[in-house]
């Protein structure tokens, strides 16, 4: 597992944690809202990172689950059920639908799979838009309440932020546990070489389906939190474009790096917001954002979090070179000592 191997990284993470925990009360509404938005996308892309980064299933339909989660909670709450019923319901439904979406992955891979999932996203989106009796159609669902927890209202932006933060941390912990168990290796094996994996007893069908299903659960939870954050949903944020953005976040952050989504979601959510306020950029913030993504990719094709790996690999390569040099000298000596050697 590639997380932190050294103290500086640990320190950095602690600092970051302090920032997310302590800083928000000092922010204005918009800042808190943005941070919450970011956290929600971290949760969603954490799931996608499992599907794409670890299990290697090219999915371009993640926003559909995001949407299913959001609509589940919204519809249930409109029907009078509690958020606390909606959240697990969203997770469950996404799990089941995720399993189903996994099936094309058993038949096609790479770009074909990407488009199967993209198509799935379109289909879900069409249902959200056309089935007005259920989803409110293009008018969406308005006035979605924020929940209260043990009698404590999460209505304010700040309390809702801490709630989302807690959920994000719990979900991250669970994923971390899963990835460092044998499952993590099985997913990676599936990504690297499914044929070989199967011949070694890795149940590629189950792992493929589960990589979608678990990823979907994360997206569904994120969607549920999203509905309650924005308090209004309509089909647009769950269209194909959103899936593509999530894919972008995962890859830019670093697919297959545990903390990739944290960085990726920051790039996808916070960077454009920040660019808006940069002098001279304002009107051009989206082109600038697009260009930044291109530059980032060209610079770090394996994502931002590959930087420590790069440094580590460089150091390891240097050490290995040195070791090889020593053994080379020994070999030469041994050869000279034996009767064999360089003649001529």
């Amino acid at each position: 597992m590639k997380l932190f191997n050294n103290k500086t990284a640990l320190l950095l993470t602690l600092l970051g944690a302090l920032l997310v925990l302590v800083a928000p009360p000092f922010l204005k509404n918009y800042g808190i809202y943005l941070l919450t938005y970011w956290l929600i996308f971290i949760i969603a892309t954490m799931g996608l990172n499992l599907t794409i980064g670890y299990a290697g299933q090219k999915s371009l339909g993640h926003a559909a689950f995001f949407g299913i989660g959001a609509y589940t909670v919204a519809i249930l709450m409109k029907a009078g059920f509690s958020f606390w019923l909606g959240l697990p319901a969203a997770a469950m439904i996404c799990f089941v639908v995720g399993l189903i979406l996994g099936f094309p992955a058993l038949r096609v891979q790479t770009i074909y799979l990407a488009f199967a999932t993209l198509g799935f996203n379109t289909a879900i989106w069409l249902v959200m838009r056309n089935e007005e009796w259920l989803t409110g159609g293009t008018f969406g669902i308005n006035n979605i309440a924020r929940p209260s927890l043990l009698g404590f209202s999460l209505e304010s932006n700040l309390s809702y932020y801490y709630f989302v933060l807690a959920v994000a941390l719990i979900l991250a912990g669970l994923l971390w546990g899963l990835l460092r168990s044998p499952w993590g290796k099985a997913f990676t094996a599936l990504r690297d070489n499914p044929i070989r994996a199967e011949s070694l007893g890795v149940d590629i069908r189950n792992y493929t389906l589960l990589s979608f299903a678990i990823g979907a659960v994360y997206a569904g939870m994120a969607g549920a939190l999203f509905a309650s954050l924005v308090q209004f949903i309509e089909p647009a944020p769950f269209a194909v474009g959103a899936s593509i953005m999530m894919y972008l976040m995962v890859v830019v952050g670093g697919a297959g790096y545990f903390l990739g989504p944290v960085v990726g979601a920051a790039i996808g959510v916070v960077l454009p917001e920040w660019l808006r306020d940069v002098p001279y950029v304002a009107n051009w913030y989206l082109p600038m954002f697009g260009a930044a993504v291109v530059v980032l990719m060209v610079w770090l094709p394996d994502g931002l979090l590959s930087i420590p790996d790069r440094i580590r690999a460089k150091r390891a390569a240097r050490e290995a070179s040195a070791a090889r040099k020593i053994s080379a000298t020994n070999a030469a000596k041994a050869a000279a000592a034996s009767r064999m050697g360089v003649s001529s």
Binding site: I52, K58, P104, R107, V108, T110, I111, Y112, F115, A116, L118, G119, F120, T122, A123, L126, R129, N130, I195, V240, I244, Y247, L248, V251, V252, A255, N283, W284, L286, P287, M288, F289, G290, A291, A292, V293, V294, L296, M297, V298, P301, D302
Partner: protein, 291 residues
């Protein structure tokens, strides 16, 4: 019956448009193993370039040629040097994301720097209607269809029949082996993207009169073209044509006879059926033996 034929022929016209856009995908896949998510924008940008040249008073043909040259430089050479070269060896994911970034930049760049409006674009063909047995088609429809046909066949022939075309495919399949044989890999990649740029300009010329020159015209076009290409067979140029026409016609029929609200699901449905029976697409080559 007349209705059906009317839908069918209108569908063919739309289908040829999809086919033209899809052709770029199949070309890049066959000859460089890359996917370009900015392909729709690669059609959009030349449309604006041509409009620009025409607004400076250049006749259509001159604008076309100038745009083609400019596109080969920008969408061919610069794109290759800036994006493809550094990312080529890292597989599909980084290129996909870089081109997503590029499409965001291009689309919004045109919007922010030029205009969010749709601009009319002169048709290559006279505005003429033909009525054959109750079915009306425009000269533009016929012309687009015919030209799409010619362009697809020419591309296919080039890739399959010429040594250069095959060398380009070789680069996509195994870059290191290709260079070991003395194939000039960078040049082949340049050819690929240069041809792609020219195809994009041709597509822009034929597509824009219907689509209108607008910053986001590439968005819808790109997605439809993707599905068309995959249905027809991603590794076959003729597949782009077949896929495009099938999607165009079926969408029309479905929106007339089934439900217009679910029209966009048609491409998806065909795609699902196709991968169930022929994962490599209708005309696609089977995947190679793996073990």
């Amino acid at each position: 019956m007349t209705d059906f034929l009317q839908l069918f022929f209108s569908g063919l016209a739309t289908g040829s448009i999809y086919a033209l856009a899809a052709l770029g995908f199949t070309l890049l896949w066959q000859a460089s193993g890359t996917i370009n998510f900015a392909q729709g924008e690669f059609v959009m940008l030349p449309a604006f370039m041509m409009l620009g040249f025409m607004s400076l008073g250049a006749p259509m043909l001159v604008s076309f040629v100038l745009t083609a040259l400019l596109a080969v430089l920008l969408l061919g050479w610069v794109f290759k040097r800036g994006v493809v070269d550094p990312l080529f060896k890292y597989g599909m994911m980084p290129i996909v994301v870089a081109t997503i970034g590029l499409s965001i930049a291009m689309r919004n760049g045109v919007r922010a720097g030029f205009s969010a409006e749709a601009h009319p674009f002169p048709g290559l063909f006279a505005d003429k209607l033909f009525n054959i047995a109750g079915v009306t088609v425009t000269l533009q429809d016929i012309g687009t269809f015919a030209l799409a046909m010619v362009i697809v066949m020419a591309t296919q022939a080039f890739l399959a029949k010429t040594v250069t075309g095959r060398a380009m495919q070789a680069v996509a399949q195994n870059t290191e082996s290709a260079s070991v044989l003395g194939i000039n890999v960078p040049r082949m990649i340049f050819y690929t993207f240069a041809i792609n740029a020219v195809l994009a300009v041709a597509a822009a010329l034929l597509v824009t009169p219907t689509y209108l020159a607008k910053f986001d015209m590439g968005e819808g076009l790109g997605t439809k073209a993707f599905f068309a290409a995959i249905i027809g067979g991603f590794n076959n140029s003729r597949g782009a044509l077949v896929g495009g026409l099938i999607v165009g016609v079926c969408e029309n029929l479905a929106s007339a006879y089934i439900s217009p609200a679910y029209k966009d699901a048609v491409a998806l449905l065909i795609f699902m059926v196709v991968i169930l029976f022929k994962p490599q697409g209708l005309l696609g080559k089977k995947e190679e033996r793996k073990v």
